[in-house]
Amino acid sequence: MEDVILSVENLTVDFYTYEGVLHVLDDVNFKIKRGEIFGLVGESGCGKSVTSRLIMGLVANNANIRSGRILFNGKDVLKMSESELNRIRGKEISMIFQNPIGSLNPVFKVKDQMINVIMNHQEVDKDTALDKALKLLKLVNMPDPERVLESYPFELSGGMAQRVMIAMAISSKPKLLIADEPTTALDVTIQAQILKLIKELQEKLGMSVLFITHDLGVVAQLCDRIGVMYAGSVVAYGSTYNILKNPKHPYTMGLMGAIPRPEHKGKPLPSIKGSVPNYLDPPKGCRFHPRCQYAMEICKKEKPRMVKVGENHYVACWLHGGEED
């Protein structure tokens, strides 16, 4: 138990909107161990970013947490006050985002933003903070770090901006880094560099990483273990290799099947029929059943529990309704 840094348990969250109540997260469960890279995979709108924001304690005004807890180092993040949260945000848990240039304040110089972050969690004066900022930029392999410090965010490329974000994120040696699609907006070569950097830093600082993405290729390269999310629930969970090599959940199988492969040349690309459900009125039972080719009667009525289907491989599916975890 003590090797778990973050544990998300039975997290069910609704959002109030003008159209009605959106039942977004439905009993989300996963654990992240110390020093591992955990991938949360799923398509747009499946709730992975909402989950990551909840871990940071960034709860939107219209969110209603119906049940569940998020234990970070054994303490429930959802019960923390704003000042308690501010003590761990950026210090114990850091986050980087999909749009690195948009994540930096456009009207302040990089050095000012970095100094603010460093001085917020460390008892240092401005000069020391500036010195640290320079060292951090060197640590993230920033080309020409002195010039970058004097730049405004709009003068940086996407890759450089993401390096700045990473430098700020690791400034206080966090125990957990949440990376919310950090490479989606970058081009492929830069993407590879940033992934390599995250991996390097994770090993150097011994931190855990929660890597959120929809890119199965990235997951396969980077993550030790993954959780596959569909429509607000984790449907497959376990070691990356086992899940991707031998998918057991129909959704994971569909995703793997939809990857373009040379042997499919000339044939239409396989896809999963239908689309992500409307959260106003999500399907009862297993939320995947309207799109599932194996759907049975029970799938429409009851939500499947997580069951073990192999070594370090769990799925929530009635097809494998055997032994319980």
Binding site: K91, S103, P106, F108
Partner: protein, 352 residues
């Protein structure tokens, strides 16, 4: 483009703006079915003692004096020549004094009033905007909304009369007119140096009169500030809420930055539109001061311009048009420079 080049280019543009604006005003003035010289010469019927012939001669002399007997394009050419090369705007038809001098004497009174008003509007407007945005859709926000929308909706002249009546006449807390108390002035006289009495009294160490001048400023300044205050408050709230949704604010919160820094991060980004409308309102107040100056007996150019309009004092009207457009241009230029200073993404003078 350096800031110096940019300013020079804007000044050159200003010349064309003034040519355009004076041209339109000139045409309009001459399209009126009146004898513009009559104001200067006086109406013979007002003075029965004057012989008709003598009056006719005076009228003719006035027309010649102002070149009103010459073709329009020659008149306009002379006007521009005098304006740009001699900085001479002619003589007031009504007061028979140089227009430039008349305006220069009254401008400080108005400027003092509108500067104080815009400072009040900006400070109160931004504060109310920030509070409303922070308490979005809560009671405080609704209350602030009522206050700021009232500010925009109440006509300045009506508010001026209302304030004058309640706080001046009924409660007697504030003086109802003038820039200072003449009796008090008699005991503590000060010299007019800049024409800004707050500054004049201060540099002469006359704190009694400084207090009196400030006291006289309160009601007219509040009346003038009400519209820009409301507009600034609404604009600040709207842009701040927009900015609070931006990714960088989200990211800043995820970094655990305290509220103080988050507010600073958001406010600097939200200031642009607020500054723009502050600038526009500031320039607009120069002419908008008309009613308020009239009601509070202020004796600034708002009042003077009003008199010129009522009396068809054509040289003063032309002069006012030049001064007001110049003021607009200067204020906008200053706003643009401040904007570029606040937001490094704005580069002056470059085409986007």
């Amino acid at each position: 483009m350096s800031i110096r080049d940019y300013i020079i280019r804007r000044i050159i543009l200003t010349v064309f703006i003034i040519i355009g604006i004076t041209f339109i005003t000139f045409i309009l003035m001459h399209a009126l079915p009146v004898d513009l010289a009559a104001m200067y010469a006086g109406n013979p019927r007002d003075n029965p003692a004057t012989e008709i012939n003598e009056a006719e001669m005076m009228l003719k002399a006035a027309r010649e004096k102002f070149g009103l007997d010459k073709p329009l394009w020659v008149q306009y050419g002379y006007y521009l020549y005098n304006l740009f090369l001699k900085f001479d705007m002619g003589i007031s038809m009504r007061t028979h004094k140089p227009v430039g001098e008349e305006i220069a004497n009254r401008l400080p009174a108005t400027l003092e009033l509108i500067i104080v008003s815009i400072v009040i509007a900006l400070v109160a407007g931004v504060a109310v905007g920030v509070i409303s945005a922070k308490k979005q859709n809560k009671f405080t926000d609704h209350l602030m909304r009522i206050i700021s929308i009232s500010g925009v909706s109440l006509p300045a002249f009506w508010l001026a009369i209302l304030l004058q009546f309640i706080f001046g006449s009924v409660l007697g807390w504030f003086p109802i007119s003038g820039r200072y108390d003449p009796q008090l002035f008699h005991q503590h006289p000060f010299n007019t140096i800049t024409g800004f009495y707050l500054i004049d009294t201060l540099i002469q160490g006359n704190f009694t009169m400084f207090g009196d001048v400030a006291w006289h400023l309160v009601l007219p300044a509040i009346a003038m500030a009400s519209y820009p205050f409301g507009a600034i408050a609404r604009m600040t709230r709207a842009t701040l809420l927009e900015v609070m949704d931006e990714q960088y604010i989200n990211a800043a919160r995820a970094m655990g930055l305290p509220k103080k820094i988050i507010t600073k991060y958001a406010l600097k980004n939200a200031l642009g539109p607020t500054l723009t409308i502050t600038g526009l309102n500031f320039a607009y107040m120069l002419t908008g001061a008309f009613y308020v100056e009239w009601i509070f007996g202020w004796g600034g150019i708002g009042w003077f311009a009003g008199m010129a309009l009522l009396n068809l004092d054509y040289t003063v009207i032309m002069g006012m048009v030049v001064v007001v457009s110049l003021f607009y241009v200067i204020v906008n230029l200053v706003v643009d420079i401040i904007q570029a200073y606040i937001d490094p993404r704005i580069s002056l003078g470059e085409k986007a």
